[in-house]
């Protein structure tokens, strides 16, 4: 609250103090004056400004040594006055400016005088306040050429302080003051903007300081990170504002070639700079050097605000000084682009905004020079990319790729200029191919198998909303950081979005063909190109860019798809265990060799399924990845095309489904997720829905491939999967294809029966599921019975009944039993029909009509199918291959009990038991590699199959003993753990059938406790298994006995 409102009052109070101060200059007097000034109103102070300033200035000007403390308080008091008043006279302003600057002048050195930090701070603040208090137009006139020396002194003084002081406070104050001095102050006190002429004059004046300012600030900016971010941010700001002002294209355009004669003395005139073309060129060159230094230092500055300021710097300089700093455009763009993927979201956002701004302003595209520079950079980056990827660490790769990504973003559609040059495209693609090289040495890839083949998970909605963007974990040779892979994908997507898709796809398909070494990488690139071309996930900076039309994209996808699913790229060797091949022993050996030799030498070669040389682990891994990548691509394509992909399902669904049933875990996972993608893209609720709705396409593929089974050995698997996921509405289609299957099976009984038995199993299970025992007449069979029902021959009652109900598995089973009996009777062979079966060499269908024509009933379709299947199964029961027999037995399993039991006990069991016993000695001695052999797998399969069979077939005591004897050996601790487990499971099943004898048998092996008779008159029981005596069977027997109790 001012006490003295009028100048008269104030004068009365202040006069004695001023007089006293003029006489004796002491700190106390100054402080007294300042204290009194507090009580004077601003308007009064303004009136008395000159009067009050006089003693203060006098104190500063008095010659002779002065005490720093005094000067400091004088300056502070002066600052106070200036902060409350305006300086309205030019002369006063200039004098005060000189007097304040002189406070820090040391006549002997270039550097600021060695005075106390407080004084320095006071002077800086004084100068700053002075410039703020300058009133209106006098500020502009202040910057006259004649002021050049004095201004120059102040500028270099402030720069020196900013650079060399230790105190952060002084540094910042000096920088702020410099801002004010260079008319860059951000406060609201400078409302007037400069007109063109004024700008030019100022520019001319400041140009003289440019070398000093830019070099000093560069030193500050590139100084130690520890100096704090505020100083760097502030320095950067002054740097780009000053440069942006002096080098502004707009100003330079108006500079005449001849320098006007300035109306100043010669000395000063010599200092003046004329900003003509040569000066601009040389200054630009020098600035480029400084800018490079700055960018190098700042783009890796740990504080995000500094990096943010760098973005601002790029924006300002690129927008204002396009021509004058054309040499710096490259480094500036590089800096910007490099920050696009900054870890700070603020920096990223600002970068994107700036880029969008550039795009809007056509800074890059509208400017040939810029586009050329970018293209050149892209080219040189592409050239060095392979080398960089080899030598850089992940962080280095990350920034290099960020840069690449940024160039592509900036170039947008103009990227085609680069791609259209063969050399450019080749460098870029070679680099991508090299970086994306996978590490295929991991043995796990081959090893991980899918054991239960039962169900595909059903709903695509269970996974994330965009499952297509999730990718199986890959291992690359040249990097481990996931972010690097992400960047690579983005790079490819951008290429696909902006580039000429036909050109790119052609090029990468060529690479795909060129060598197995490139194939996987090329496929990865192709996948991302398509995603990018569809405009998914791509932020478009170039609004006029027209993306690839759906028709074109669809056409391109079709051709890639054709390539992916062609025989030689789709059916690759992925495992040594080729169950279809007959020569098991030779396979077993070569398989072992492949494992041992494969791990030492790592050659990547691709083998189509039908070529013979034994594949190495590496080549199989490589094949697995290739298939996975192609599957993933199909998912991507579906996503890119959306509902348009439906038309491609006729060619794509079959191959994908085929891989969904693959034994290799990775492949089957990839196929399943590809199907999920297809579901989402084409609007199917679930995989089941997808398969069901497109069964006609699948059936088409299955039927055609069955014609060339040796080339398409997995066809039955596809049918299997299809059957599992279909419903009764597809019966006509199924009936159609089953006929093909059975015909083919008839041709290939010897070689490929195993895979067919799986189908037959699935088929019967499906039929049983589709036509459950509902008690009433199902629609289809009622209809067909009605249609064909003109059958008058006497039929067995059971058959009649079976036909009428006819929809359950039990009925099918009943029917088959009756049918078999009937057939035996017809053959006149009641007592021993097994022999008859074995002697019969033709497929049963052939003689069926001859032997029992009358019994041929008008069967509903599903019954007909079931009967046909059963006939094949019977035939297969005597197959040489144990595995097939087991599968057949399990297929028929509980459905044809009695007949099967006798067949099983007579024919199959002895062989199974025999093989188990003989193999046991081998497996007991075998090492860890043994579990990779076919022999092991066979043992395991037999053990796993025996238990359920014994239970289902309800074997008698003698046969159970045979089973038990054969399996006992496998309870030994010497056997591989998996076999032990399987054997234990057999015994668990045996316990269910006959717990007592199993108990006895186990106790014979090992007796955990002495059995005490319930009554002393009874003999003590002595079992063969000695009590407490450890033997190899102890552990497993104990486990099993626990189960029994």
């Amino acid at each position: 609250m001012a006490v003295f409102d009028t100048p008269e009052e104030a004068f009365g109070v202040l006069r004695p103090i001023c007089v006293q101060l003029t006489k004796t200059q002491t700190v106390e007097n100054v402080e007294q004056l300042q204290a009194q000034l507090q009580a004077v109103s601003d308007s009064a102070l303004q009136q008395l400004q000159q009067y009050i300033l006089f003693p203060l200035r006098f104190a500063l000007k008095t010659p002779g040594p002065k005490r720093e403390r005094l000067i400091q308080s004088v300056v502070e008091c002066l600052t106070f006055v200036l902060s409350s008043t305006c300086v309205k006279e030019q002369e006063l302003l200039r004098e005060l400016f000189s007097e304040l600057s002189a406070c820090l002048y040391s006549p002997n050195s270039q550097k600021p005088a060695t005075v106390s930090e407080e004084l320095k701070l006071a002077v800086i603040q004084g100068l700053s306040t002075l410039m703020h208090s300058a009133y209106g137009d006098i500020v502009v006139t202040f910057y006259e050429p004649s002021m050049l020396p004095r201004l120059g002194f102040a500028v270099s003084l402030l720069l020196g302080l900013a650079e060399q002081e230790k105190s952060k406070q002084i540094k910042i104050a000096a920088l702020k003051c410099l801002q004010v001095l260079l008319l860059q102050c951000e406060c609201d006190d400078h409302p007037r903007s400069l007109d063109e002429l004024e700008q030019k004059q100022l520019g001319d004046l400041f140009a003289a300081f440019l070398p000093g300012i830019s070099t000093a600030l560069t030193r500050v900016i590139t100084g130690d990170f520890k100096q704090g971010h505020t100083i760097v941010v502030c320095s950067l700001k002054i740097f780009y504002r000053t440069v942006g002002f002096i080098m502004a294209d707009e100003q330079l355009r108006r500079i005449s070639t001849v320098q006007e004669k300035p109306a100043v003395e010669h000395q000063v005139a010599k200092l003046m700079v004329h900003r003509e073309a040569d000066w601009v060129k040389s200054t630009g060159d020098k600035l480029t050097i400084l800018l490079k230094k700055i960018i190098e230092g700042v783009s890796v500055h740990p504080h995000w605000k500094v990096r943010l300021e760098l973005v601002e710097l790029v924006e300002v300089l690129l927008l204002k000084c396009t021509q004058s700093l054309v040499e710096s455009a490259g480094p500036l763009l590089k800096a910007l682009v490099g920050l696009l993927n900054d870890e700070s979201p603020d920096v990223q956002a600002r970068c994107h905004k700036v880029l969008r701004h550039f795009a809007d302003q056509k800074v890059v595209v509208g400017n040939r020079a810029f586009a050329d520079i970018l293209a050149e950079h892209l080219h040189s980056l592409a050239t060095s990319l392979p080398r960089l990827m080899n030598s850089q660490d992940d962080q280095g790769k990350f920034s290099t790729l960020s840069l690449l990504l940024g160039y592509l973003r900036l170039l947008g559609p103009k990227v085609n200029f680069v791609l259209n040059s063969v050399a450019h495209l080749q460098r870029l693609s070679k680099a991508l191919i090299q970086v994306l090289e996978l590490d295929v040495a991991d043995i796990k890839i081959v090893e991980e198998r899918r054991w239960n083949s039962d169900h595909l998970s059903t709903s695509p909605k269970t996974s994330a909303s965009r499952p297509w963007s999730q990718i199986q974990r890959r291992y690359f040779r040249f990097f481990t950081d996931e972010r690097v892979f992400l960047l690579l994908r983005q790079v490819c997507q951008l290429l696909g979005f902006y580039g000429n898709l036909y050109l790119l796809v052609d090029h990468f398909l060529e690479l795909y063909h060129e060598s197995v070494v490139y194939r996987k990488q090329a496929a990865m690139v192709l996948n991302e190109l398509v995603v990018g071309a569809a405009g998914l996930e791509v932020e478009n900076l170039h609004e006029k860019h027209i993306k690839t039309s759906p028709e074109e994209l669809s056409e391109i996808v079709t051709s890639i798809l054709e390539e992916y699913t062609s025989q030689e790229n789709w059916h690759l060797v992925t495992c040594v265990e080729a169950e279809e091949m007959g020569e098991e022993l030779t396979m077993q050996q070569s398989g072992l060799q492949a494992i041992t030799s494969g791990s030492s030498t790592c050659q990547v070669t691709s083998f189509p399924a039908f070529s013979k040389p034994s594949p190495t682990i590496c080549s199989m891994n490589s094949n697995i990845w290739q298939i996975c990548i192609q599957l993933e691509g199909i998912g991507h394509f579906a996503h890119a095309l959306g509902a348009d992909f439906r038309l491609l399902l006729m060619s794509a669904l079959y191959p994908v489904l085929e891989k969904a049933g693959d034994q290799t875990l990775l492949i089957s996972q990839a196929a399943t997720s590809a199907m999920m993608d297809i579901c989402l893209a084409c609007g199917y609720d679930s995989l089941q829905h997808l398969i069901n709705q497109n069964s006609d396409y699948l059936v088409n593929g299955i039927s055609l491939n069955l014609r060339h089974l040796s080339l398409h050995p997995h066809t039955p698997k596809v049918l299997e999967v299809m059957l599992r996921n279909s419903d009764a509405s597809l019966l006509p289609l199924v009936a159609d294809v089953v006929q093909d299957v059975l015909d083919t099976l008839d041709q290939f009984y010897d070689k490929r029966a195993t895979s067919f038995v799986g189908v037959l199993h699935a088929l019967l299970a499906a039929l049983a599921q589709w036509f459950p025992d509902t008690g009433d007449l199902g629609q289809p069979q009622a209809q067909s019975v009605g249609e064909k029902g003109s059958h008058s021959s006497p039929r067995p009652a059971a058959l009649e009944k079976g036909l009428e109900k006819s929809t359950t598995a039990e009925d099918i089973e009943q029917f088959l039993l009756n049918y078999l009996k009937e057939k035996d009777v017809a053959d006149g062979n009641v007592s021993d029909f097994d022999n008859e079966e074995e002697e019969q060499s033709d497929p049963p269908t052939v003689d069926e009509n001859d032997t029992v024509p009358d019994v041929e009933p008008p069967r509903p379709v599903q019954i007909q199918i079931a009967a046909d299947v059963m006939e094949r199964c019977i035939h297969l029961l005597s197959d040489k291959n144990l595995k097939i027999r087991l599968k057949v037995l399990r297929t028929l399993g509980g459905k044809c009990g009695d007949f099967l039991r006798s067949r099983f006990c007579k024919d199959v069991l002895p062989k199974l038991a025999g093989s188990l016993v003989t193999q046991a000695t081998v497996s007991a001695r075998a090492g860890p590699v043994y579990s990779h052999t076919l022999a092991f797998k066979l043992q395991l399969a037999v053990l796993q199959g025996l238990g359920p069979l014994c239970e289902k077939l309800d074997l008698g005591e003698g046969d159970l003993n045979k089973v038990a004897d054969a399996c006992l050996i496998y309870l030994s601790a010497k056997q591989p753990v998996k076999l032990q487990e399987a054997a234990r499971r057999v015994f668990l099943h045996l316990m269910k059938v006959d717990p007592d004898s199993t108990w006895f048998l186990l106790n014979e092996l090992y007796c955990p406790e002495q059995l005490t008779p319930p009554h002393p008159s009874l003999h003590p029981v002595q079992l063969r298994g000695a009590v407490g005596q450890q033997n190899p069977y102890t552990a497993n027997v104990l486990l099993l006995l626990q189960e029994l109790q």
Binding site: F610, L647, M650, P732, L733, D736
Partner: protein, 326 residues
Amino acid sequence: MAAPPPPPPDPQFVLRGTQSAVHALHFCGGAQGQGRPLLLSGSQRGLVHIWSLQTRRAVAILDGHRGQCVTWLQTLPQGHQLLSQGRDLKLCLWDLAEGRNTVVDSVHLESVGFCRGSILAGSQQHWTLAVPGRGSDEVQILEMPSKTSVCTLKPEADAKPGMPMCLELWQADSSPRPLLLAGYEDGSVALWDVSERKVCSRVACHTEPVIGLDFDSQKARGVSGSAEKALAVWSLDEQQALQVCGTHKLTNPGISDIKIRPDHKILATAGWDHRVRVFHWRTMKPLAVLAFHSASVHCVAFAPDGLLAAGSKDERISIWSLYPRT
């Protein structure tokens, strides 16, 4: 190890779902920009399936013959109209425009034979239809769409060629007079001048009834097949006289349909031996045996773009892409 022999040719794809034997096939659209190409098939159970060749699925099913076998399908050149001939003695005219599928007209037939009809579409509005007539050896000519009977072609009393088995109406470039080629039960092929109602020429081609014939009016040459083990190729000279140029032995007897491709380069036969055979039309050199079906092939058809379709008793329609024209 020797490289595996190249696999036998496969159909491009197979259409399933007619659920009964296929007796008639006809392509429409696709060539003159009439939208997506379609394939029409007629089944034993009287249904006409319209297949989209793009999705390979039936887009519509027409039921107009009361469960009786559909033996002939033909679209009219001017638009979305389809003729279907059924064993229910009815010839239906369907309107298929804009997704409609309704019978707009029908002609009552008076012959229960196997003979398929034939049309000659001259002007935009009017067209001529040949169908087997009331008498067992007659052919009836109708003016459509008015259904007015133009004439009945009855062989001379002493000729006794038996029933007409297949018909082909055509018009020479030089004259506007409609001509009719008819294959008869006695194995002869006759050329009728429709306006004069007289036989121009008749030639015995087969010893068994003629079951299918096709005629190439550019080369004035035709081909016919019958139940026997041979194809007959015959030609027409300037005096409109038919003469047999030669016969070509087949491995197995029985041809149920025969078609020359629209570009007159190749021809295809539908065999009772489950095979489709392809011949070079000029030289009659056998080019391919297409084995896919598991029962008699009943009909073959060529699309304007050269695609071949074969319909069989095994309820499937196989689509083949043969020697695509470049």
